[in-house]
Amino acid sequence: MAINWPITPRRLKELGVLGMNQRNGEFIAEMNARRYYPLVDDKLLTKELAEEAGLHVPALYGVIRTTHEIKHLSKLVGDHDEFVIKPANGAGGDGILVIDGKQSDKPLVYRKSSGRAVSIDAIALHISNILAGAYSLGGRPDVAMIEYRVQFSPLFEKISFQGVPDIRTIVYRGYPVMAMVRLPTTQSDGKANLHQGAIGAGVDMAGGQTLDGVAHNRHVTHHPDTREPISGVDIPGWQSLLEMAAKCSDMTGLGFLGVDVVLDRDLGPLILELNARPGLSIQIANGEGLRHRIERVDRHVDHLARDETAAERAAWSRENLAPMNL
């Protein structure tokens, strides 16, 4: 087998691929004022903000702030058999517990998304770990959020395995610039995490159709578990999805933002979380660097007489930022 040599920095630059240092130094540091970070790092705040802005988010069942509130869990959950427990300040999707259903009432045992049983005591322990800061940045004490478990739409059913596929959009100066769909695989254990083997599929900005994907930094055309082609899936309501992403930028004041959206069967697109330091793998998924698109946005914004609305911005992006080379 031929050695897979690294790519030269020159070629990467030519392709406009954004590196970690440039992302941190030129975009995050310049475009994202630190005082706005809590708005996205604290998912509870993000949720409130999004609701105020009229954006859809998974409904919040309740918040557990102290250890003695843990026993109110079943009261908070009510008669929902499915729910998600997550740390409000969790980093990188750590500490999220997805409950898929009730296995038995007495003793109270739930079922995790992986199908494994989990007793109420184990859930209580997980929550107390969240409260102690096991999953938060720097180990600071945290709060646990109990929220609606997304009923994911059958759209991606054929090209994902377990877990929830989500749509990540990068918004630059209020304009959606690039998007990808993250598709869980057996290898990623149902998680939409590219590091662990989930597939990242690029999305055509113009029409919202999936392109080919990338797994472990390699080009893939079919899902390894379902053997279905990844490209060609139409994401419904693409315009409104991009508008949502653009509005997130307005509501947080962040100029370089990752917006994670899931498609719910009944409720449509829901904002799952925002990220002030979005990852760079989206470039591999789209087979294109972010830089050229960002430069386009810069040129466009610099010649604007007035600020555009979210709808106008989404439309502009669809028209001007479609993969330029397909």
């Binding site: 990467l12 691929v17 590196g19 240092n21 440039q22 080009h219 087979g287 294109e288």
Partner: protein
């Protein structure tokens, strides 16, 4: 704008750091490398006195500010004699006095000198010499002699050289034969040379000094000639006319008078003894800068108590370790647990040595992880679980020490120097990454941390590096400048060239439409 600001800060820091270090190196003689030795000389003047019955006093000229050399230290041994030192312009003197001396005695004066300058320091011009009053026909003979030499010479220095050569010629010029007794000694010839130089209005003086020889005994002072060339005193060998002092000539006093003036003594004899010694270059530099009263030295770490010094020897390396972390993370792209955890691990490697350190670290983390996974099953709360891991880590450390001691491996004892809380936190982090992102990620980051720690260790343990940063802590400003520079590096990391290599083949990763096309 921001770029220029940063670059000027970087430039300023580098400039200050390097110039202070250079000054300390070149002017104060701080060694760039450890264990350097410098040559110092101990010169001992022995004054043997044979007092009479009257109160005695001995005035002795002391070396002060000799050319090429610096006086590091001096001392007097003179039991029972009163001692004062006084200095008039450019000459220091020691005065010993005793009311009723008895028997032969010896007074000692000891000085330690160190050759530190190649150039002779400039000194102000004393003004033209007053010509000596001479009777005819001597006057015209001397003047025509001087005229002859002036015709052959280019400047003061060559004039003096030629003149000295003539004075020492085996068949002296007839014009000066009258001035010179055939058996004239060195001092008399030098005295004549000074008088003749005065006719040409050239200021000249006699100097006396000692040839430094290792284990030299019973040395007598040698006379030398100095002429002022309007910038500095230039030494001339009074026998050959050669310019400059021999390398190991230490000037003791100037002028046409003996070093000793005594009263109330029946006999006195002055001899010198010299020895060469090697001395730690650091020590010499320190002494020298104290003498030079350098303000810089008021802020030296070398003045701190020894144990504080030792602390700083280690502390000053932390910035260097931090710099290595910055390089490996931002330029190479190695992922580590915790930002500066590897530096702390590297510091503990200093005690355990590298291989043993890596082995012990891996051992403890692996065992700790196993225990941690077991504790996970017990479903403990976070803080008690962390505390349990700390306890287990300490038990493991003790166990390793005991077992390795039993086996006769002393290296296992140094495991106690590992920062156990850091170890416990590392174990906790590894296990969370392991659970959430899989074993691959956890092992990759753990290996990354170890590699970074090992590299930081290799730099920090280097004797030259340790020495350099301890003696020249201002070099940390350069490290700071470099760190600031890296802080604005926005190019690719080395690992990204691997991460993004899919772009080589990605079908749709073609050249983008040229910029400017705004559609």
């Amino acid at each position: 704008m921001r770029r220029i600001h940063l670059l000027s800060v970087v430039f300023l820091l580098t400039l200050v750091g390097l110039s202070v270090a250079y000054y300390k190196y070149s002017a104060l003689g701080f060694p760039l490398t450890p264990d350097r030795e410098t040559e110092t000389w101990t010169v001992e003047a022995q004054i043997a006195v044979n007092p009479g019955t009257a109160p005695a006093s001995v005035r002795f000229a002391l070396a002060s500010d000799p050319p090429h050399y610096t006086l590091l230290d001096e001392g007097f041994v003179s039991r029972g004699w009163g001692l004062t030192t006084q200095s008039s312009d450019r000459q220091r003197e020691a005065v010993w006095t005793k009311r009723s001396p008895e028997g032969n005695q010896t007074l000692y004066y000891q000085a330690t000198v160190y050759r530190d300058q190649e150039e002779i320091q400039p000194s102000s011009y004393p003004g033209p010499a007053a010509p000596p009053k001479l009777e005819e026909p001597l006057k015209s003979a001397a003047e025509s002699f001087v005229e002859d030499i002036r015709a052959d010479s280019a400047d003061i220095q060559t004039f003096a050289t030629l003149l000295v050569k003539e004075v020492n010629a085996s068949r002296p010029n007839e014009n000066i034969a009258a001035f010179l007794k055939p058996d004239a000694n060195e001092t008399e010839r030098t005295r004549l040379a000074i008088r003749l130089l005065a006719i040409a209005r050239i200021p000249a003086r006699m100097s006396h000094g000692v040839m430094l020889t290792d284990e030299g005994r019973n040395l007598r002072p040698t006379t030398w000639l100095e002429v002022h060339n309007s910038r500095r005193w230039v030494p001339i060998n009074p026998q050959t006319g050669a310019v400059g002092y021999p390398r190991q000539f230490l000037v003791w006093w100037h002028g046409d008078q003996p070093a000793l003036t005594t009263s109330g003594l029946e006999g006195v004899e002055l001899t010198f003894a010299t020895t060469r010694n090697l001395r730690d270059a650091m020590e010499t530099a320190q002494l020298q800068s104290t003498i030079a009263e350098s303000r810089l030295m008021d802020f030296s770490l070398l003045d701190l108590p020894i144990d504080a010094q030792n602390t700083y020897r280690v502390l000053l390396l932390v910035p260097l370790g931090a710099l290595i972390i910055v390089l490996l993370r931002n330029l190479i792209g190695i992922r580590t647990f915790g930002t500066f955890m590897p530096v702390l691990i590297a510091l503990s490697f200093r005690e355990t040595q590298l291989v043993a350190g890596v082995v012990l670290f891996t051992l403890i983390v692996a065992l700790g992880l196993a225990i941690r996974f077991y504790l996970e099953r017990l479903k403990l709360l976070l803080v008690p679980r962390l505390a349990a891991v700390v306890i287990v880590v300490i038990l493991l450390m003790a166990l390793i020490s005991i077992v390795s001691h039993r086996l006769g491996l002393d290296i296992g004892l140094s495991v106690g120097l590992f920062p156990m809380v850091i170890l416990a936190m590392t174990i906790e982090r590894v296990s969370i990454v392991w659970e959430e992102h899989g074993a691959g990620d956890a092992l990759a980051q753990a290996t990354g941390s170890l590699v970074v720690a090992a590299m930081a260790y290799l730099v920090m343990v280097n004797a030259y590096v340790t020495h350099l940063f301890f003696v020249f802590p201002e070099l940390l400003l350069v490290v700071l400048a470099f760190t600031l520079l890296v802080g604005r590096y926005t190019g690719y990391r080395l690992t990204e060239l691997f991460r993004f290599r899919a772009f080589k083949t990605l079908a749709h990763a073609r050249r983008p439409t040229p910029p400017g096309d705004d559609r």
